[in-house]
Chain length 328, copies 2
Amino acid sequence: MAMLSPITELFEIDYPVISGGMVWCSGWELAAAVSNAGGLGLIGAGSMTPDVLREHIIKCRKATPYNFGVNVPLMRPEAAEMMEVIAEQKVPVVFTSAGSPRKWTNWLHERKIKVAHVVSSSAFAIKCEEAGVDAIVAEGFEAGGHNGKEETTTLCLIPAVRRVTRLPLIAAGGIVTGSGMLAMESLGADGVQLGTLFAVTQESSAHENFKRLCLNLNEGDTLLHFRKLSPTRLVKNGFQATVQEAENRGATEDELLDIIGIGKTRTGIYEGDIDNGEIEIGQAASLLKGHEIEPVNVVMQRFVREYYAARRQLINQAMDEQMSRRTY
Amino acid sequence: MAMLSPITELFEIDYPVISGGMVWCSGWELAAAVSNAGGLGLIGAGSMTPDVLREHIIKCRKATPYNFGVNVPLMRPEAAEMMEVIAEQKVPVVFTSAGSPRKWTNWLHERKIKVAHVVSSSAFAIKCEEAGVDAIVAEGFEAGGHNGKEETTTLCLIPAVRRVTRLPLIAAGGIVTGSGMLAMESLGADGVQLGTLFAVTQESSAHENFKRLCLNLNEGDTLLHFRKLSPTRLVKNGFQATVQEAENRGATEDELLDIIGIGKTRTGIYEGDIDNGEIEIGQAASLLKGHEIEPVNVVMQRFVREYYAARRQLINQAMDEQMSRRTY
């Protein structure tokens, strides 16, 4: 049973649910599983070389008959090569982020590829509309990993973006339940992009240690750091404690860059060194505490059921209110 | 037309909408106006002496025949004297914050006063339930002024609190529109507490300069500071720039206390020195950009209309989906 939404129509999917592109999590297995479960799976190119990306696209196509996409962070030096791979492989959808939506939208449209761009403010949403993208992802402060400088939360961001554009709008950051999707719809969004919820599934390519850690977090166990560089939401661990200590004493940008070093997200998320590595996950992970590492289709079906249950409850409340008024 | 909610029943009000206790904003005029408009107005004792509080309670009772309450921040040294004033004046409702819900709940209940307590985490919500409060306010990172250390946003906080308690739940932080209230209902809240929206009304006792400033903010114009002391959301201005500079260079707690000094919120919010004073408002203020300073009843009626419009739209979408399924 498909849901009606500009997002399901645009991407020809059953549910307006997209899996975010996450370093070391969203390879072909996760993307294909999400598309097979009725959403739109994205391959996250952020932790791939162009050749590795090609391999993932080819494997993803073999693993699902449905649409899928690639998320390309535009600050990556190999972004242009990645776009060539995407065009060569006729990927139907690209989500661009961390850069200007003007840069690739026309080029991708000329190749019949649909484009969504990720923003953290209404000002950037206006630029997206000017650039002619097909959809906008608005991602709030709750999101894991890289984050906007203005720290606007999803609750404040979605209405702000909705006011400046009628484009299909995808809410991201802080959503891990079907009632979260209903809340986003209430604010005017047409669909959701989920990172955290899919990062901890069986098909995520992250290390099992990472998944177990992320399924055992309490409120307050992620915090935003690197405000002087590029704000990033980290899980509290040994690496984060070093960052926190440095920031508390007013460390310079260079000192912080030294701490980041090279490959710390790989160490943490892919290799599973959950104390020394950089661990990125959304604030809403704590809402998943105690969950098992499950297959994507189980997670998606529960999410959809939760959505319908929350919507039914809201409608029932509204009807009760109507009824009680009539009997007065 | 009253709304059905455990909150409207508990406080005997028409709409499950409470005006938060805000220093230098929520005097008797604002509280009475909110209660007269169908919500529950709170007198904010945070910027009052016990004698001033008594005066406000007496004036509020003359100005409205409906229930109203007082918000008492428990870290105030005069909290005990304030409670005596509240009991003497037979105020029907008290909202406690910034302290333990155990401290006053029984004492207030013995005097037939209803009690709600403000929390920023599900752990504190459990303590509220143990203390026997009548309702819980869960306030997220978006809120103006004092804020939780864990930085949990309203979108992540409400579902977390809803899971640990069935008590009437009031969502706060980031809500300035009726669709925001609908989103909170989707997440399981029974009502909302609004600070920002009422701080900028005609009846708010804040200075006009403060109101005009707050009605002209962009996204990103408030930021959380004083993480080393007590996290506080501030509007960007001269005072905030001094704080920001000090925090960037790793200032100690003592240095930060020196910058805070005494009476900086009075200077900013009440006296209207919007560059040198401390200005506190919620992140969602940017959603009010361009609004006029309006009377509370106008603001409340619009809020309620927005809520019904958003709910109708959601229900219509659900019905369209049902219909389209039948015709397949």
